[in-house]
C-alpha cells in the first residue's frame, strides 16, 4: 500500500521556527541569513515590505559584482579596471531582468502560489549568493591573473568560479521554489537552463571582459560557444592582455 502511495518528503515551511521569523534589519543580516538561515530569508520575502529587503539584496549584488569585476580587470589593467566591473554588474542585472518575466510565468505554470515580489526575492537571493561566493573566489582569481598572460586560461578560470557560484545560487532558488506549493520543478529547471544561456551569451555580448581591445564593445556578433572556440584556438587576437601586466 505504501509502495503505491509513497509519503512525500516533508518540506519545512519557512517561518515554522521562531528564530526564522526574526526580522532582517540590514544588508549584513541578509547575507548572514542567506548563508546560515535561508528559511529566515524566505520567510521575510513573504512578508509585507519585502521590497526593501530585495532592494538591499540587489545593492549587495551590485557591490559584490563590482568588487569581483575589479579583480577580473586587474588581468588587463588600464580601462579594464573600471570597464570589467561595470560590464559584469550590468550584465548580471540585465540577464536577471531579461529572465524575470519568464521565471514568474514558469512559477505560475508550476502551480506555485508565489507572488511576483517573492519571485523577485528568490532571483535577488540567487544573484546575491552567486556574487558573494565570487567575492570569496576573488583572491584566488587575482593570484592567477597576476601570474599568467593567457586570456583563455583566465576566462576558463572565471567561468569555473561562476559555475560553482551559480550552482549554489540555483540551489537557493530551488529551495525557495519548493516552498511555494509548486506541483512540479520542471518549469524552474527549464528556466535555469534559459538563465544560464542568457548569462553566458551576455558575457560574450559585453566582451572583452577579461582581455583588452581598442573599443569598449566588440562590434562582431557571436554565439558564446563560437567565442570560446575562437579564444581556445587563439583567433580572438583583439583581446590580448595588456603587456604591462
Amino acid at each position: 500500500m505504501n509502495e503505491q502511495n509513497p509519503i512525500p518528503p516533508i518540506i519545512p515551511i519557512a517561518g515554522d521556527d521562531l528564530a526564522e521569523r526574526a526580522p532582517i534589519p540590514h544588508g549584513i543580516a541578509a547575507i548572514e541569513a542567506l548563508l546560515r538561515q535561508p528559511l529566515r530569508l524566505l520567510y521575510q520575502l513573504r512578508q509585507p515590505g519585502a521590497g526593501r529587503l530585495i532592494g538591499q539584496m540587489l545593492l549587495i549584488t551590485v557591490a559584490c559584482s563590482l568588487g569581483y569585476g575589479v579583480v577580473v580587470g586587474t588581468f588587463s589593467g588600464g580601462t579594464q579596471l573600471w570597464a570589467a566591473p561595470a560590464k559584469i554588474a550590468a550584465g548580471l542585472i540585465l540577464s536577471a531582468a531579461i529572465c524575470l518575466p519568464s521565471l514568474y510565468i514558469f512559477t505560475c505554470l508550476s502551480g506555485s502560489r508565489a507572488r511576483f515580489v517573492e519571485v523577485c526575492g528568490l532571483l535577488a537571493g540567487l544573484l546575491m549568493l552567486m556574487t558573494i561566493l565570487l567575492i570569496g573566489f576573488a583572491p584566488v582569481a587575482w593570484i592567477f591573473s597576476q601570474s599568467t598572460d593567457s586570456v583563455a586560461w583566465m576566462g576558463g578560470l572565471h567561468l569555473v568560479f561562476w559555475c560553482v557560484a551559480t550552482a549554489f545560487g540555483v540551489r537557493f532558488l530551488k529551495q525557495g521554489f519548493a516552498r511555494t506549493e509548486a506541483r512540479s520543478q520542471a518549469g524552474v529547471n527549464i528556466w535555469i537552463i534559459i538563465f544560464l544561456l542568457v548569462a553566458l551569451q551576455m558575457a560574450t555580448a559585453l566582451r572583452p571582459i577579461v582581455g583588452k581591445s581598442e573599443t569598449f564593445f566588440s562590434a562582431e556578433k557571436k554565439c558564446f560557444i563560437a567565442h570560446w572556440v575562437d579564444c581556445l584556438i587563439g583567433k580572438g587576437s583583439s583581446w590580448k592582455p595588456n603587456p604591462s601586466n
Binding site: 529572465c99 518575466p101 514568474y104 510565468i105 502560489r113 542568457v198
Partner: protein, 235 residues
C-alpha cells in the same frame, strides 16, 4: 454581487497560468465584461510584444508591423471561429453555452500570449546577439527555430490549460478531447490562412519590409504547401 463590467485584477492572470480549475470554471459560468477586457489586454500586450521581437531583426518598422499583426491573428481566429466552435461543443458531447466556449478559447489565447510576452525579452536578446543581414541564411533559420520553440511551448501550454478547463466542464474526458481536437483543427485551419495573408513576420532577408506582401490575397497557404511538395517530388 459583481457587475458585468468590473475590472478584475491582474492576479487573475496568475490564477489562469496556475490552472486553478475550480476558479476558472466558475469564471466561465458567467460572462464578465471586465474580465474579457483584461484577457484582451493581455493578448494585445503579450502577443504584441512578442510580435515586435519577431520583426525587430529586420528593423523597427517590421517590429511595429508584426506587433500589430501577431495579436490580430489571435483575435481574428477567436472571432472567426467563435460561432463554429460554439456549435461544435454541444454536438461533440460538451453541453456548454456559446459564451462559455468563447471565453474558454479567449482564456487559452491569454495564457499563450502571457507566456509569449514573458519570452519576448529573451528572444529580443537573442535577436540582438544574432549576426546582421550579411550572414543571413543560417541566422534567419536560427531565429526561425527559436520562434518555433517559443511558440510551440506557449501554444502547447495554452491548449493544456484549455483541455483541463474543458475536462472540468464535461461529463467525461473523451468529450473534452473531442471538442479540443475539433477546435484545434478549426483554429489551425483558419490561423494558417490568416498567417499566410498577413505575412511577412520575421521577414525574408532578400525581400523588402512590408506590412503585407503585394500578393497577400493571391492563393492560399494550402496551395503553397501543395506546390512546395509538388516541387520537391517532381521538380
Amino acid at each position: 454581487m459583481t457587475s458585468g463590467f468590473d475590472i478584475p485584477g491582474p492576479s487573475e492572470i496568475s490564477r489562469l497560468l496556475r490552472g486553478e480549475i475550480e476558479v476558472i470554471s466558475a469564471w466561465s459560468e458567467r460572462w464578465v465584461g471586465g474580465r474579457f477586457i483584461l484577457h484582451l489586454a493581455v493578448i494585445i500586450l503579450g502577443a504584441g510584444l512578442y510580435g515586435a521581437t519577431m520583426g525587430c531583426w529586420r528593423g523597427p518598422e517590421q517590429a511595429l508591423f508584426v506587433a500589430i499583426k501577431f495579436p490580430l491573428i489571435m483575435l481574428l481566429v477567436t472571432a472567426g471561429n467563435a460561432l463554429l466552435n460554439g456549435l461544435l461543443a454541444p454536438l461533440l458531447g460538451l453541453n456548454i453555452r456559446f459564451y462559455q466556449s468563447f471565453s474558454a478559447i479567449v482564456m487559452s489565447f491569454t495564457v499563450t500570449s502571457a507566456i509569449l510576452g514573458a519570452f519576448s525579452p529573451i528572444i529580443a536578446f537573442l535577436v540582438w546577439n544574432a549576426p546582421g543581414m550579411g550572414s543571413a541564411g543560417s541566422t534567419y533559420n536560427g531565429i526561425l527555430l527559436a520562434h518555433v520553440a517559443a511558440i510551440a511551448l506557449a501554444g502547447t501550454t495554452g491548449n493544456v490549460r484549455l483541455l483541463q478547463l474543458l475536462a472540468s466542464l464535461s461529463p467525461n474526458r473523451a468529450a473534452a478531447m473531442r471538442v479540443l481536437a475539433a477546435w484545434l483543427t478549426g483554429n489551425l485551419f483558419l490561423g494558417s490562412q490568416l498567417t499566410w495573408i498577413l505575412r511577412p513576420f520575421v521577414g525574408s532577408p532578400g525581400l523588402p519590409v512590408q506590412f503585407l506582401r503585394p500578393n497577400a490575397f493571391q492563393g492560399n497557404f494550402y496551395e503553397a504547401v501543395f506546390r512546395a511538395i509538388h516541387h520537391i517530388l517532381f521538380g
